[in-house]
């Protein structure tokens, strides 16, 4: 659905996007992940034909953003970081205006307005001024205007930024809900968001593509071998960590055992193996030795750790986004 090849965007002094290539299949939700200033917004603006690329190509639904921008624009719904609302308009009038801009008219337009106001739960504020709406409502009206012409592709720039936790959940659910009908590409610098909503992740940093893969693969890739966290407690007396450690190391396939912490007679270990699935063996070894097995879980790395590992940096704004000064 979306094909990006060697996309580059140069500004006067900086390179915002540096030879990025990726593809997005139809119906997917893709998370565009990176610290602030990584080039997410720029890439999205190129995809939506707001900015022209300096070099490279981007096609949406088979149409090139430079050659056939009109065709691309017809097929794309875009929610910029701040929803593009005319604050002096009423919700209904605003959606009608956007619908007309996107080429809808007549009964078709009425139907779509009813549909999107229902879908984004903004029907109750249809006759309210946009300027009087809360941030959550504004965001939902922004989503409603993005999907009003039933576009093939939805481009959402930080759709949950600035919302409260409840609104964030609602917005995420709505986005997941929309995924069936649209190919969605959403940007964020919040990692759990990607884990929760997206199937596919594209990680960029300083304008460069760092990784593109499914969420699951990325976690597995960063983890390498399987690793397990287990907590052992003594039945009667406190366990002796070194004994447990020795016992665990004897199990075939175990390559490394680290005692992570020890309190109140319990001890927590991280066990790595090269063999694959060894959790059964671990459990039996512990129980057979007369200890209690309090906890046994795979230590999946959070995407956060993956991200840090991949970008090799701390997760703080690397380059502050250029502050747009009022002229």
């Amino acid at each position: 659905m979306i094909k990006v090849k060697d996309l580059t965007k140069r500004y006067a002094r900086t390179i915002a996007v540096d030879h990025i290539s990726f593809e997005v299949d139809k119906g997917q939700i893709v998370g565009f992940l990176g610290p602030n200033g990584a080039g997410k917004t720029t890439t999205m603006r190129i995809l939506t034909c707001f900015l022209p690329p300096s070099s490279g190509t981007a096609t949406v639904a088979g149409f090139d953003v430079l050659e056939q921008p009109m065709e691309v624009k017809k097929r794309i719904g875009y929610l910029p970081e701040t929803p593009p609302l005319y604050l002096e308009m009423e919700t209904g009038d605003y959606l009608r205006f956007v619908g007309k801009l996107k080429g809808l008219s007549g009964a078709d337009l009425d139907k779509r307005i009813d549909y999107v106001t229902g879908r984004c739960s903004v029907a109750d504020v249809k006759n309210k001024l946009l300027g009087k709406l809360s941030k959550g409502y504004r965001q939902r009206v922004g989503l409603a205007q993005a999907i009003i012409h039933n576009p093939d592709v939805l481009v959402l720039d930080e759709p949950t930024a600035g919302l409260d936790p409840k609104q964030i959940n609602e917005t995420r659910d709505l986005i997941k809900d929309l995924a069936g009908d649209h190919t969605i590409i959403l940007s964020t610098h919040i990692l759990p968001e990607v884990e929760q909503t997206c199937e596919q992740v594209i990680i960029i940093n300083k304008g460069k593509l760092v990784a593109t893969d499914s969420v699951r693969n990325l976690q597995a890739r960063a983890r390498g071998a399987e690793s397990v966290v287990l907590e052992v407690a003594g039945r009667k007396a406190a366990v002796e960590p070194s004994m447990v450690q020795r016992k665990l190391e004897q199990i075939s396939g175990v390559s490394r055992v680290v005692c992570k912490q020890q309190l109140d007679g319990r001890a927590q270990f991280e066990v790595e193996s090269q063999k694959g699935f060894i959790r059964g063996d671990l459990a039996r070894a512990v129980v057979d030795s007369g200890w209690d097995l309090n906890e046994l879980r795979p230590s999946a790395m959070s995407l956060e750790e993956v991200f840090l590992q991949l970008t090799g940096s701390e997760l703080k704004p690397i380059e502050a986004e250029p502050v747009k000064e009022p002229v």
């Binding site: 603006r45 939506t48 034909c49 707001f50 900015l51 022209p52 009109m70 624009k73 017809k74 794309i76 875009y78 910029p80 970081e81 701040t82 593009p84 609302l85 005319y86 604050l87 002096e88 308009m89 009038d93 205006f97 956007v98 007309k100 801009l101 996107k102 080429g103 205007q145 009022p326 002229v327």
Partner: protein, 255 residues
């Protein structure tokens, strides 16, 4: 065509949903009414004096009232045009709504023309609002209506040209005050360029005087449609909108 109308309707809506349009209408109506009253009073005094001097020279309402009145109103344009145009693009840039327009399947030209047209239609409303004054003139006198219409056409063309310049300037900033102030300055300068012809007759002075937005409206106020002057205004409108389009394009390459 349809897209132009969509944009134009939306812009007109923005003017009339806020107090902007009503305040402009009120102020313009007040100022115009005061000018009209002054011109009428001067005319009455003059005609009484003429009668006392025993001259029964028939005084022409068009010459004595309409022509100076319209010339005065064209000065008022200088103040009202920036107020109308300053928000056109600056506001969209400030609010980020320009991204909505620029990513919709609609051409830059349609956006620009739609916005300019809305500004022009608002100005037409201002002019129509002033027609009430002339209703009195026609009720109690017998002025010629054709020169009056031509005079109005002149005002409209002049406003159209100034509005096109204002539209262009509005694309260059996201600060409405800056857009308004610069538009006012440019319009005023264009207006007074004609002064040089008063003391200088060099080619340079003639060029400057030709460029002046004021010198080309004289013929209209006299009731004459001079194609040379009409072409001047149409050219300025075209150039203003053309530069607006270039400016919008450059926004995309720079931003």
């Amino acid at each position: 065509m349809r897209n132009i109308w969509i944009i134009c309707r939306k812009e007109l809506g923005s003017y009339f949903v806020s107090p902007v349009a009503y305040i402009l209408l009120t102020m313009f109506g007040l100022i115009f009414g005061y000018f009209f009253w002054n011109a009428l009073a001067a005319f009455l005094v003059e005609s009484i004096q003429m009668q006392m001097r025993g001259q029964s020279f028939p005084m022409n309402l068009n010459e004595w009232i309409i022509r100076p009145l319209l010339a005065n109103v064209s000065v008022v344009n200088l103040f009202f045009v920036p107020l109308i145009t300053m928000r056109l693009f600056a506001e969209e840039k400030r609010n980020g709504t320009i991204e909505l327009l620029a990513t919709s399947p609609i051409r830059d030209g349609e956006i620009i023309f739609g916005k300019w047209l809305a500004a022009l239609l608002l100005y037409v409303c201002l002019l129509l609002f002033t027609a009430a004054n002339f209703a009195f003139l026609f009720r109690y006198g017998n002025p010629d209506w054709k020169p009056l219409l031509v005079g109005y056409l002149g005002l409209l063309l002049q406003a159209g040209a100034l509005l096109a310049i204002g539209t262009f300037i509005s694309t260059t900033t996201k600060n409405q005050i800056i857009a308004g102030a610069v538009t006012f300055g440019v319009c005023l300068l264009l207006f007074v360029f004609g002064w040089v012809s008063g003391y200088d007759t060099s080619t340079w002075a003639q060029v400057l005087s030709y460029l002046s937005i004021a010198t080309h409206s004289e013929s209209f106020y006299r009731g004459v449609i001079d194609s040379k002057d009409a072409i001047y205004y149409v050219t300025v409108i075209f150039l203003g909108l053309f530069f607006t389009a270039r400016s919008m394009e450059s926004l995309r390459w720079r931003s």
